[in-house]
C-alpha cells in the first residue's frame, strides 16, 4: 500500500491555518465577556524601593473606576505567594533561598515593573487615567543589576533571607576526577564569556481575563498560557486557594510563547481574584512596554570554563563556573534552568570523561529570568562549542577534526555521560558529514578569497550540539527538585460515526499540533485526517496536562495519544471479535479495519465505533459501551536531539556590520511526522539564535532602569537581517518512546549562536581576535577590529 498523504511523514498542510489567514483566530484579547471591566496595573518605576504608603482614595473617586486594590488588600484575603516549581539544593545539601513573591508588592518593590496596585474601571482609558491618581510614597534603595556586582561584598541586598544575593550555590560532577584530568593535560583551553540576557517578545502580548460566576462559585481564567493546567494547579492551590473543581483555565489561540508563557504570572492571579471581589469579569492586556518589564527574560549567564586536552586533542576534563541571574524573584521554573537544563548538557556530543560544574544563582533588581527557547541548553552549547573552537585554534587542529576525535561513537549508545544524562541514540558523525556537504565546507577557502577581493572578511563556523528534550521522567525530575510530575495526558474520544476528537494536555501556540497530532491519529486509526479534531487549551475539556515547552509535545504528548489509541484499538478488537464471532486473538487491526486473520471478514473502524455506542449486538456482560480512552504517558528518559549547524558570515571591516550569508542546519530530531512543520520550527529557532548572536541584548543601566524597554531599543531579527536557512534532517530514532521522536522546537536556538560566533571569530582571526561576546553588533565588531589593530601596531 502506498504511504498515506495525511499520515506520519507527510508534509500535510496545517489544519489551523484557515482561521489565522482570515483573521478569525481567537486570542485572549479578542474575547469580550459580558459586563467586562478593565484592569490597569500600576508598576514600580524604581528598581528597588521601600513602599512607605499608598493612597488610593483619589483614584477610587475617579470617573469609571470600580475598584482599586493593593497588595495589602490581597494579603487581607490570604492570597498566597506565586510559587516556584523547582527547588535546587546547595553544595552542602541545604535548600536554596526561596523568597516570597506576592502578586502585588507589599512593602518593597524589587524591579522596575514590579506590580504595586491595580485599578479596575469600565474602560482601559479610565483605569489608566485613574492610576495616575494613586499616590505611592517610595523610598528608593540602592539597586544591583549584574551578577558580577551582586556577589561583591557590600552589594545592595535584594532579599534579607538571601545573604550575598545568593539563591543557591550548586555543583555537579566529580571535582577530584576533573582536577586529576587537568594535572595530566597536555593543553588547557580557557574561555570567559557572557550569555546575553534576552527578552522573549512573543508577538502577542500577554493577556488575562478573570471571570467569576456568583451562582456557581466558579472562576474562569482566560490566559495566554502554554500550559493551562499548570496555571490552574499553581494559582488554585497556592495563590488563590480555589479548588480545581471550581477553577477553569482556558488558553485559546496564543500568539507565540518561546517559554515566556509557561510561567504563572502575577496578573493571572490579580484578575481572577479581582473578578471575585467586584463580581464582574476583569480583563488585563499587556502593553508591549509591560511585556519588556514583566515577561520572564532568558539566559544572562557569566561563565568561566577550562578544557583539558591530551596531545592529540582528546578532551580529558571540563571545569565550568557559572553565575546565573535569577532576577528579583524566582519565576516558576527558574532554578532548574541554569542547573539541570544546563550543566547536565556539558558533555555535549563528546566523550569528555570528567566534568565538574558549579553554578551560583544570584538575585538582582531585574525582571525574573526563566526558560526561554532552549532554556539552559543554548547556554551549555554556546559555552562548549566556543571552548572547543578555542582549543582547536590554540592546538592548531582543524575545528571539524577536533570534534570528530571526541565524538561519542554511533555504536556507543546507550551512552552514560559524567553529568547524569544517558543518551539513548544518535549519530554525530552522520549529521556532521551531511552538514559539511550541504554547506560545501570544502569550497569555503575559495569563497573567502572571493569575498576578500570585495573587501569583506568571510568566516565559517560550526557547532555540533546536543540537547535534552521531552521533559521528563517524573521520578527523575522529582529527585532533582521538581515539585510536579512531567507526564502528559491525552483523551481519544471516538464518536458513534467513527470521527475522533483528541483532547491533549499540550498546548499549541504556533507549533501546529492540530495538524501533527491529527496525522498521528489518522495513521494510527486508519481514518481520514478530516475526521480528526484536536482540542487543547481548556481545563474544562481536557483531563489533565503539563503543557508545551522543552520540545516535549510530540515526545510526551504525542506518546500519550499513541497510548490512548492503543487502548482504543484493544477495545475495538474485543468488539470486533464479538461482531465477527472470532477469537479476539485472531483479530488484526490495520488501515482502519478489524479483520479476522487470514480471512476477508472484517469490520471498519466506524462500524466498531457505532457498535460501541449502539450496543444492541455487543458483549455487554464483559465490556462497557462507548469508545473513549484516556492515557497518561510518563517518559522513560529525556530525548536527545542533536545535529550540526554551519554558518558563514561576511564582515565589513570598515563598519563592523556582519551579514550571515549562508546557514546550514542538519538536525536529528528523531522520526519526522511533518517535514514542513519541522522545517519551520528549525528555521524559526535559527532566526532566534542568529538574533541572540548578532542583535538582541537586554540592557539595564546601573540603577536598574531598563534601557531596552521597547521594540525601538531591543533589536530582533527582521526579514532583511536573515539569510535563507538550509534545513535537512538525519534520523536516528528515539529508543524509548513509541513514536521514535525527539523534538525539534529548540534545536535552532541552541545550535545557531555558537555557529555564528565561531564564524565571526574565524573571519576576524587575522587580527588575532579569539573571542567576541554576543551580540556581535557592528559597534562591538568594529571596536574589536580597532583594538586589535592598535595592539598589532603597538
Amino acid at each position: 500500500m502506498a504511504p498515506r498523504d495525511d499520515g506520519i511523514g507527510a508534509a500535510v498542510r496545517r489544519k489551523e491555518d484557515f482561521r489565522f489567514l482570515t483573521g478569525r483566530g481567537l486570542y485572549v484579547d479578542d474575547i469580550v465577556r459580558p459586563g467586562q471591566l478593565y484592569a490597569y496595573i500600576l508598576r514600580s518605576p524604581h528598581a528597588h524601593a521601600e513602599i512607605r504608603a499608598i493612597d488610593t482614595a483619589k483614584a477610587m473617586r475617579a470617573k469609571g473606576v470600580v475598584a482599586v486594590f493593593t497588595g495589602a488588600d490581597m494579603a487581607k484575603d490570604n492570597v498566597g505567594s506565586l510559587p516556584c516549581g523547582w527547588q535546587v539544593k546547595n553544595k552542602d545539601g541545604s535548600p536554596m533561598n526561596e523568597p516570597p513573591h506576592p502578586p502585588l508588592a507589599v512593602d518593597r518593590v524589587r524591579h522596575v515593573g514590579d506590580p504595586v496596585a491595580v485599578v479596575i474601571a469600565d474602560s482601559r482609558e479610565a483605569a489608566k487615567d485613574a492610576a495616575e491618581l494613586v499616590e505611592i510614597d517610595y523610598r528608593p534603595l540602592p539597586a544591583v543589576v549584574s551578577v558580577a556586582e551582586a556577589i561583591k561584598p557590600g552589594a545592595p541586598q535584594v532579599w534579607d533571607i538571601a545573604p550575598g544575593n545568593t539563591c543557591y550555590d550548586w555543583e555537579i560532577g566529580d571535582k577530584a576526577a576533573v582536577d586529576a584530568a587537568f594535572s595530566r593535560a597536555h593543553h588547557v583551553a580557557r574561555i570567559e564569556l557572557v550569555n546575553n540576557r534576552l527578552v522573549p517578545n512573543a508577538m502577542e502580548p500577554r493577556a488575562a481575563i478573570g471571570d467569576f460566576d456568583p451562582a456557581s462559585g466558579e472562576y474562569t481564567l482566560y490566559t495566554t498560557s502554554q500550559n493551562p493546567h499548570v496555571i490552574r494547579l499553581l494559582m488554585g492551590a497556592f495563590v488563590l486557594h480555589i479548588p480545581e473543581s471550581k477553577l477553569r483555565v482556558y488558553a485559546p489561540d496564543v500568539g507565540g510563547g518561546f517559554g515566556s508563557k509557561i510561567f504563572h504570572y502575577a496578573e493571572e492571579a490579580i484578575v481572577t481574584w479581582a473578578a471575585g471581589k467586584v463580581k464582574r469579569p476583569v480583563k488585563w492586556t499587556a502593553e508591549r512596554s509591560e511585556s519588556f518589564m514583566t515577561d520572564a527574560h532568558g539566559r544572562d549567564h557569566v561563565t568561566r570554563a577550562e578544557l583539558a586536552l591530551d596531545r592529540d586533542g582528546k578532551f580529558l576534563g571540563l571545569r565550568v563556573s557559572t553565575l546565573a541571574n535569577m532576577g528579583a524573584y524566582l519565576s516558576t521554573f527558574a532554578p532548574c534552568v541554569p542547573t539541570y537544563l544546563y550543566a547536565t548538557l556539558l558533555a555535549g556530543v563528546y566523550t569528555t570523561p570528567a566534568i565538574y560544574a558549579e553554578v551560583r544563582a544570584v538575585f538582582t533588581n531585574t525582571v525574573p529570568v526563566d526558560a526561554y527557547r532552549g532554556a539552559g541548553r543554548p547556554e551549555a552549547t554556546y559555552l562548549l562549542e566556543r571552548l572547543v573552537d578555542v582549543a582547536a585554534r590554540e592546538m592548531n587542529i582543524d575545528p571539524v577534526e577536533i570534534r570528530r576525535r571526541n565524538f561519542i561513537a554511533p555504536d556507543a549508545f546507550p551512552y552514560q555521560t559524567p553529568v547524569a544524562l544517558q543518551y539513548d541514540s544518535g549519530n554525530y558523525h552522520a549529521t556532521l558529514d551531511q552538514a559539511l556537504k550541504a554547506a560545501d565546507w570544502a569550497g569555503f577557502p575559495k569563497r573567502r578569497e572571493e569575498a576578500r577581493k570585495r573587501g569583506k572578511l568571510r568566516g565559517i563556523g560550526i557547532s555540533t550540539y546536543i540537547e535534552a528534550c521531552g521533559i521528563a521522567p517524573s521520578n527523575v525530575v522529582g529527585a532533582l527538585g521538581a515539585r510536579a510530575g512531567l507526564y502528559e495526558a491525552a483523551e481519544v474520544r471516538v464518536h458513534p460515526t467513527g470521527t475522533v476528537t483528541v483532547f491533549t494536555g499540550c498546548h499549541s501556540h504556533g507549533q501546529g499540533h492540530e495538524t501533527t497530532y491529527a496525522q498521528l491519529v489518522a495513521e494510527g486509526l486508519g481514518i481520514p485526517i478530516e475526521n480528526v479534531e484536536i482540542v487543547h487549551g481548556d481545563t474544562a475539556k481536557i483531563p489533565f496536562g503539563m503543557g508545551t515547552y522543552g520540545s516535549r509535545s510530540l515526545a510526551v504528548g504525542g506518546s500519550a495519544i499513541v497510548r490512548a489509541m492503543d487502548k482504543i484499538i484493544r477495545k475495538g478488537k474485543k468488539i470486533a471479535s464479538h461482531l465477527l464471532e472470532a477469537a479476539e486473538a485472531d483479530i488484526e487491526f490495520k488501515d482502519g479495519k478489524f479483520t479476522v486473520a487470514g480471512t476477508d471478514r472484517s469490520k471498519t473502524f466506524a462500524e466498531v465505533a457505532l457498535a460501541a455506542y449502539v450496543p444492541h449486538n455487543y458483549p455487554l456482560d464483559e465490556l462497557e459501551p462507548g469508545l473513549d480512552e484516556t492515557a497518561f504517558y510518563d517518559p522513560k528518559n529525556f530525548t536527545f536531539p542533536a545535529g550540526c549547524h554551519i554558518c558563514e558570515v561576511e564582515i565589513d571591516p570598515d563598519t563592523g556590520v556582519t551579514q550571515v550569508v549562508n546557514f546550514t542546519a542538519v538536525d536529528d530530531v528523531g522520526r519526522v511526522i511533518n517535514p514542513m512543520i519541522v522545517e519551520g520550527q528549525v528555521q524559526g529557532g535559527v532566526a532566534q539564535g542568529i538574533g541572540q548572536a548578532l542583535l538582541e541584548n537586554c540592557v539595564y543601566d546601573e540603577n536598574g532602569q531598563l534601557l531596552t524597554g521597547s521594540m525601538m531599543d531591543y533589536t530582533m531579527p527582521r526579514a532583511d537581517n536573515l539569510p535563507s536557512i538550509a534545513v535537512s534532517t538525519h534520523t536516528t530514532l528515539c529508543t524509548h518512546n513509541p513514536l521514535g521522536v525527539k523534538g525539534c522546537g529548540e534545536v535552532g536556538a541552541i545550535g545557531a549562536p555558537p555557529a555564528v560566533i565561531n564564524a565571526i571569530v574565524d573571519a576576524l582571526s587575522s587580527y588575532g581576535i579569539t573571542h567576541i561576546d554576543m551580540p556581535a553588533t557592528p559597534q562591538r565588531v568594529w571596536k574589536a577590529i580597532q583594538d586589535a589593530r592598535m595592539k598589532q601596531a603597538a
Binding site: 512573543a202 532566534q688 532583511d720
Partner: protein, 160 residues
C-alpha cells in the same frame, strides 16, 4: 468629560457612523467598536506591523492612527480583504508553504505583501525581504513567508 467625535468611515465596503472618544486609536476602534479582531496590536508603537490595515488605499499602522483620522475615508482589514478575495493567492500560498505559525503577525503581513505585489511584478527575494522588514514575525524566521510571497507573485493580478 471624555471628548468624543462622530466619524463616518467606509470599513470593508460598509459605511459606518460612530461616536468615538477622540483619543481612541484606529486599532482599538476596529477591534473593540467593530469587533474586527483580525487586526492585532503587538507593540502600540508602530514597530511590529501586526496592526497593519489599509487606510485610503495604503498600508498603515492602525496603532499609530486615531479613529477620528479616518473620518470620511476607507479602511480595509484582513476580514474585508478576505471577503473580496484580494488576498486569496497569498492566503493559498501561505497555506501551501506553512508560512505562519502562531498567526498573530499574519494579517498584517498579508496586507503588507498584497500592497507590495500590487507594485512589483516578479520581485526578487531580496526585494521581498526588504518589503517585509517592517513586520516582525517571531516564529517562522521569515523564510517560508518569503517563499509564499514569491509563489503568490506568479499569479498576482496587479491593479490596472
Amino acid at each position: 468629560m471624555e471628548e468624543v467625535a462622530t466619524i463616518s468611515v467606509q470599513v470593508n465596503g460598509q459605511r459606518i457612523t460612530r461616536t468615538v472618544p477622540v483619543r481612541m486609536s484606529l486599532a482599538d476602534f476596529l477591534r473593540q467598536e467593530l469587533e474586527l479582531t483580525g487586526t492585532h496590536v503587538g507593540c502600540e508603537q508602530g514597530i511590529c506591523g501586526a496592526c497593519t490595515v489599509v487606510v485610503n488605499g495604503r498600508c498603515s499602522r492602525s496603532c499609530l492612527m486615531l479613529a477620528v483620522q479616518v473620518d470620511g475615508g476607507t479602511v480595509e482589514t484582513v476580514e474585508g480583504a478576505t471577503e473580496t478575495g484580494r488576498l486569496k493567492p497569498l492566503q493559498d500560498a501561505f497555506y501551501a508553504r506553512a508560512a505562519l505559525q502562531c498567526g498573530f503577525c499574519t494579517p498584517g503581513i498579508l496586507l503588507t505583501a498584497a500592497e507590495f505585489l500590487d507594485e512589483h511584478s516578479a520581485p526578487s527575494r531580496a526585494q521581498i525581504r526588504e518589503a517585509l522588514s517592517g513586520n516582525y514575525c517571531r516564529c517562522t524566521g521569515y523564510q517560508a513567508i518569503v517563499d509564499a510571497i514569491e509563489t503568490a507573485s506568479a499569479s498576482w493580478r496587479r491593479p490596472g
